[in-house]
Symmetry: C2
Subunit: 119 residues, 2 copies
DNA sequence: CAAACAAGACTACAGTTGTAATCTCAAAAA
DNA sequence: TTTTTGAGATTACAACTGTAGTCTTGTTTG
């Protein structure tokens, strides 16, 4: 059974950097970010503990950090959770709602259809 | 400034019943649900404390509960949060992802366009 | 009226989250 | 070599969550 790794909102910025840049040392991660260093260290630590990020020994006393959960896995998990909570799991209901709330235009829908047809 | 009321996952089933049925007593809420009664009481209590549900005195010692946050408000809040976390706030990116992941078909997109055109 | 019932109030408790300070100690700098 | 630095480890702590038990007391039942 695969354990369900949850990425907290505060931890997400770190994941985004790792998804974008690949493998980095902690200073490299942090220089791409704002916020209190101590807090960031804690969040990175937690991600490692959870298994969302792997830490491979680099020089003694430092590590190279890499995302162990892919962005698509994260998105899939968030999508499922969102659809379930707000639309009983139905992507169709959601779409309808987005259209009604005007978060999506007819033009955008048409572009997608065109995209699909082009393959 | 409006306070940001957060509805926890465990509390959502109660909200869903209130959204569906309107105003109910706690026994009426609970008879529509599964789960430990004591836990449900706690969750209902928390919803009242948060202001997500209002409790109007009924007979002495009992209340009538009503959702104070609408389902659409909840959905909007979840939508914003989901789009932000997974797609930098872009509904378009999300749609593209759904199409790629085959959560939405060309036919469904076409139906929506037709719906918009009919008004 | 006495006993049982139960809605709501109060208490409990561990895990997660957001936020951050302090401690350790090897490596870099002076 | 002595000092400084800083990555990582450890500790802190309150709010929120998930889950559930106990206490109070008015109401219902026998």
């Amino acid at each position: 059974m695969k354990k369900n790794i949850t990425i907290a909102d505060s931890e997400l910025p770190i994941m985004k950097i790792l998804w974008e840049k690949g493998t980095l040392t902690s200073p490299q991660i942090f220089e791409n970010m704002h916020g209190n260093k101590s807090t960031l260290k804690t969040l990175l630590q937690r991600l490692v503990t959870k298994g969302a990020v792997t830490a491979k020994e680099n020089t003694s006393r430092t590590y190279l950090y890499t995302a162990a959960v892919t962005q698509q896995e994260y998105i899939n998990s968030e999508r499922k959770s969102f659809l379930q909570k707000a639309f009983d799991g139905s992507a169709k209901k959601m779409l309808l709602n987005f259209v009604q709330e005007e978060k999506i235009t007819k033009e955008e829908l048409q572009q997608l259809i065109d995209m699909i047809e082009e393959g």
